[in-house]
């Protein structure tokens, strides 16, 4: 009900991306051209694969700790192929490896904005939806209308979540504003004891995006002034660290009081704590990032049919539930909800009620450089 | 001359009493008693490992004595660090600072003593002139020949006007021809500056030709101290006799105070034979043995008959190895047209003057 009504800029971007795909082919160092052309074909006619067809072993390139190994074993047993999974720690490290070609991987799990980049670069292959009947298990707003892949032509949502703040209530008390002010406003930070104990993600789009949100702008804003304002805000905020790697641990060990980060990580961390109730994760009232990780088939996947079969396998209701029950991220798989643990399903931090204030990060093309420069300047 | 010559004094320049140095279980220097007079050129001589360097290093302060007393000009200096002693050293390998110019090398000690800049420059200039290296001030040590480096090392030490100059085999690295030249220069220089030199060498000829007095060491002990002539002509034992120059040792027994009976039965008259019945050896220098035709020995001298076994030509002389029944004797003859050359196999007789031998313990 919410995903489809996304903000204008995101939709625009998708168009841009589609327009750019031709350039992307030229840009690709000569020999990638063929595969690029494949990908640039209109959506809908992916490889000629039948349902449950396998054309070899599966090579999966995924985020670390993102799938229950038993699920992979199940796939191996069900289809008589072996699965090799390698893991990465960021979209940015994964993309060039795939983009360069000859990576050897079949399925990757890029995040939303990276999907659009990879589509325009020709890094991923159009899906043959016919070979993925379980695609329809997806909730409506995931099945179509996602800003980075409106038709669902290239990517199948895997898990989703939000970016927000984790807070140590032992310091702030229960009664603090659920606002970015905790981070960006000196007075508020002083009041609740968060000043100097804040970590923000070391990521230009996420962190400048948070600032933009606090300022009331879209996090995909391409206005120089708005970006400048956001930059100043970040530069002057009482921040201890920019950290994408250990923010959850640092919060748990008392190194920080407020941490900017991804929903799932916090839950795993809070669960471990002596008193899980000491901590709280929330998306600030001004709004935040919503992200979706997606399965996609690599443009030169050696085993495209196995890849489709694997995507179909994950989109199965039971398997989708198993995924969420293992990694604590929200599932886009509506059919799976029946089997998802109720405490997950009912946790508003995992399944937020109010999706309106959330925005997807979308690729801004050339403007990405402004984000990254601004972020470097903001960090000092 | 740029230094004040030390006034003659009764206080020895260096005075050691029971000076001892032990390294773990090795006794490198064993209770040395020695006075070196002010202005003297003193040579320490001995085989490798006998403790010469260790003695010098104790005087320099580079080694702390294990026991005993060490005075320089009357002041006990046993544990004074090297930089506080009025002593300088010319090291065997020169130890010139490779990263400094010649002038900086020479001026190093003065600068360390905070001598005013102008003085440093003047005295460095004088010292470099003294060792005849003017014009090379700005070179690095590796741009000099061995002999030149040696002179820099000398200037670097002398410029500080030390009370005592220590030289540890300063000429060992030079080739023979150059060494001979430097020996002469060094001796000249010492006379000019009047500084006490303590000189270590293992080259006996070098010690004999340069030193006022020589101390012969063996195994950490001082075996004999004396003028070159005393040491050469009256060695106290076989070791000293053999180490200083070459010598033949004729074993025998003391018959009475002036007669020795050699192993082959020959009776020999000597100045001081020692205790009757004692086993001794006669030390007989090769150049003091007279080589004559068989039987042509003047009356009144003991004589030994033998055959020429080998001839070694040395340039200024010839060494004959004369084979006797019971031993071989080396004889050195001058290489002069007037002296007939002998051939291998010639039958000869040997004799010597009574005062040509020294009696040493067997």
């Amino acid at each position: 009900a919410c995903g489809g009504d996304d903000d204008e800029p995101a939709a625009d971007d998708t168009d841009d991306a589609a327009d750019d795909s031709g350039d992307g082919d030229d840009a690709d160092s000569g020999d990638d051209a063929d595969s690029g052309d494949d990908a640039a074909e209109p959506a809908g006619d992916g490889p000629d694969c039948a349902v449950d067809e396998v054309d070899g072993d599966l090579f999966l390139y995924n985020w670390a700790e993102y799938i229950d190994p038993e699920l992979l074993t199940a796939f191996e047993e069900q289809y008589g192929v072996s699965v090799t999974q390698d893991t990465y720690d960021s979209n940015e490290a994964m993309q060039p490896i795939i983009s360069a070609g000859n990576s050897g991987y079949d399925v990757i799990v890029p995040s939303d904005y990276m999907v659009s980049i990879m589509i325009s670069n020709g890094d991923v292959m159009a899906l043959n939806k016919a070979a993925i009947p379980n695609y329809s298990n997806l909730a409506d707003d995931f099945e179509s209308g996602l800003p980075y892949d409106p038709e669902g032509a290239y990517a199948a949502p895997y898990q989703w979540g939000t970016t927000g703040l984790g807070v140590d209530k032992a310091v702030t008390g229960e009664d603090f504003p659920r606002s970015w002010a905790l981070v960006f406003d000196q007075a508020t930070a002083d009041e609740y004891g968060t000043a100097g104990s804040i970590s923000l993600l070391n990521d230009p789009r996420e962190t400048l995006g948070a600032a933009l949100k606090y300022l009331g702008y879209s996090l995909n804003s391409t206005s120089e002034e708005e970006l400048n304002e956001a930059k100043e805000l970040v530069a002057n905020a009482p921040i201890q660290a920019f950290d994408s790697d250990g923010y959850d641990e640092n919060l748990a060990t008392g190194q920080t009081v407020v941490a900017h980060g991804y929903s799932g990580n916090f839950f795993v961390q809070f669960d471990e704590a002596d008193d899980p109730a000491q901590y709280e994760y929330f998306v600030p009232d001004e709004g935040g990032t919503r992200w979706v990780d997606n399965m996609a088939v690599v443009h030169d996947a050696p085993h495209p049919c196995t890849a489709h079969t694997f995507i179909n396998f994950i989109l199965d209701a039971e398997n989708g539930a198993a995924l969420t029950n293992w990694n604590y991220y929200a599932s886009p798989n509506e059919a799976a909800e029946a089997s998802i643990l109720p405490e997950i399903l009912e946790d508003p931090a995992i399944y937020p009620d109010d999706l309106e204030k959330l925005e997807f990060i979308s690729d801004t093309g050339d403007y990405e450089i402004n984000f990254s420069d601004a972020f470097i300047e903001a960090k000092g | 001359m740029f230094w004040v010559s030390n006034l003659p004094s009764m206080v020895p320049a260096v005075s050691m009493r029971a000076l001892t140095k032990r390294f773990d279980d090795v006794v490198a220097v064993d209770a040395l008693d020695l006075d070196i007079a002010d202005g003297e050129f003193f040579a320490l001589l001995g085989p490798s490992g006998c403790g010469k360097t260790t003695t010098l290093r104790m005087i320099a302060g580079l080694e702390i004595p294990s026991a005993g007393s060490l005075k320089i000009h009357g002041d006990e200096v046993g544990t004074l660090p090297p930089n506080k002693r009025p002593v300088n050293t010319v090291f065997q390998n020169y130890a010139l600072f490779p990263h400094m110019s010649i002038a900086d090398n020479v001026g190093f000690g003065l600068r360390m003593q905070k001598t005013p800049k102008a003085d440093v420059a003047r005295r460095v200039g004088e010292a470099i002139e003294l060792v005849r290296l003017t014009g090379m001030e700005h070179r690095r040590p590796n741009q000099l020949s061995g002999g030149q480096q040696q002179r820099v090392a000398l200037a670097r030490a002398l410029v500080n006007r030390p009370k005592v100059l220590l030289l540890d085999e300063p000429l060992a690295a030079l080739d023979l021809k150059l060494r001979q030249g430097m020996q002469f220069e060094l001796k000249q220089l010492q006379r000019e500056v009047g500084i006490t030199f303590v000189f270590v060498t293992h080259d006996q000829e070098e010690a004999l030709s340069m030193a006022d007095r020589i101390g012969v060491m063996g195994d950490g002990e001082l075996l004999q101290v004396g003028t070159p002539e005393e040491i050469y002509d009256q060695p106290v034992n076989r070791f000293v006799a053999d180490f200083i120059g070459r010598s033949n040792f004729l074993p025998g027994t003391v018959e009475d105070s002036s007669t020795v009976c050699l192993t082959n039965g020959t009776r020999v008259v000597v100045d001081h034979a020692g205790t009757t019945g004692e086993a001794i050896a006669l030390s007989l220098r090769p150049e003091r043995v007279q080589l004559v035709d068989r039987g042509a020995v003047p009356d009144g001298h003991a004589s030994l008959d033998g055959t020429i076994g080998a001839v070694t030509f040395l340039g200024s002389g010839v060494v004959y190895h004369v084979t006797l029944d019971w031993m071989t004797i080396e004889v050195r003859a001058e290489n002069r047209p007037s002296v007939a050359r002998r051939e291998v196999g010639d039958d000869v007789s040997l004799w010597w003057r009574d005062d040509a031998v020294a009696v040493v313990p067997a």
Binding site: - | A95, F97, F108, Q113
Partner: protein, 307 residues
């Protein structure tokens, strides 16, 4: 050692036929010797050309290309934009900051590494080897784990903080400070300082030190005037080996510095990955390498060969 790689040397040995002597033969033999040298170098040479120089040229070409709006590289419309970007204040700031941090790191490594190397070089052989191996051993653990360990050590309430609190110095909040970055970089590159320093100190002729003592230097003066200048090759080699990777470091500044100090290494990573601006990533790398290579070659060619 593969024997086939060296055997050909004997094949080019002169045969019995070449008995006439002369400049011609000498030249030919010298040429044969050069050929032998080339033959010996060839496997590594070819390897480095094929697997290093050629890839390097590819990136060099990229540095003159243009970033497309999707962040890939357009191999057309060659330009110098990416090099022009190096003149912008943002890059200058990063360069100055990283040069400053790298210099501090180098200095700290020198200050604690020198005495360590000196101490090691003046011990007996067994102690010497143990002290050198002791410097290497920590590096047999995973580098990320080492950095995390430091994070723990430095964190609020961590061992260091507790220790300083216990002795009444109050809590020390070192994590996510510039100090932590320098500490982490020092930790990462200390062996690269100690090893060449050790090599050059160990080579010093100690008689020179004695000579200086004899010439009225006290211990400190002997060190400053003799030991230090003579170990300069090691100091320079060590400094290059610490300074260069410090400039290029990015994991340590992020883990221990809280990502607040963008260093050149982070900047390059950002350009290649986050901004997907390969031309700029490449041009920064090339300028950095050119500067460092000139410095290194000038130093190594002028006689220092230490590691």
């Amino acid at each position: 050692m593969s024997s086939s790689s060296l055997d050909p040397l004997d094949i080019v040995d002169p045969d019995h036929e070449h008995h006439h002597v002369g400049e011609e033969v000498e030249r030919r033999l010298r040429k044969a010797d050069r050929r032998r040298g080339l033959l010996l170098a060839l496997p590594a040479y070819l390897y480095m050309v094929l697997f290093f120089a050629v890839p390097l040229v590819i990136v060099l070409v990229y540095s003159f290309a243009t970033r497309t709006s999707s962040g890939s590289v357009a191999l057309s419309g060659w330009n110098l934009d990416s090099y022009r970007k190096l003149g912008e204040p943002i890059v200058r700031n990063v360069v100055f900051r990283s040069a400053w941090l790298a210099a501090i790191t180098t200095f700290v490594c020198l200050v604690i590494g020198y005495p360590y190397a000196y101490y090691a070089a003046t011990r007996r052989p067994l102690v010497r080897n143990l002290l050198l191996v002791a410097v290497m051993i920590p590096f047999w653990t995973n580098f990320l784990v080492r950095n995390y360990s430091w994070r723990l050590l430095l964190s609020t309430g961590g061992p260091i903080s507790s220790a300083t609190e216990a002795v009444g110095l109050g809590e020390t909040d070192l994590l996510f400070t510039r100090t932590a970055v320098v500490l982490g970089l020092t930790y990462s590159f200390l062996p690269f300082m100690i090893l060449p320093l050790y090599a050059s100190i160990e080579r010093i002729d100690w008689r020179l030190v004695e000579a200086s003592r004899d010439l009225y230097s006290n211990g400190v003066q002997s060190f400053l005037k003799i030991v230090l200048p003579l170990s300069l090759p090691g100091v320079i080699a060590g400094s290059i080996l610490v300074f260069v990777p410090s400039l290029g470091a990015y994991v340590t500044p992020e883990i221990l510095g809280g990502g607040r100090e963008t260093m050149l290494g982070s900047y390059i990573v950002t350009q290649f990955l986050t901004a997907r601006n390969w031309p700029v990533g490449a041009s920064v790398s090339f300028v950095l390498m050119a500067v460092m290579l000139s410095a290194t070659i000038v130093y190594f060619r002028s006689g220092g060969k230490n590691l």
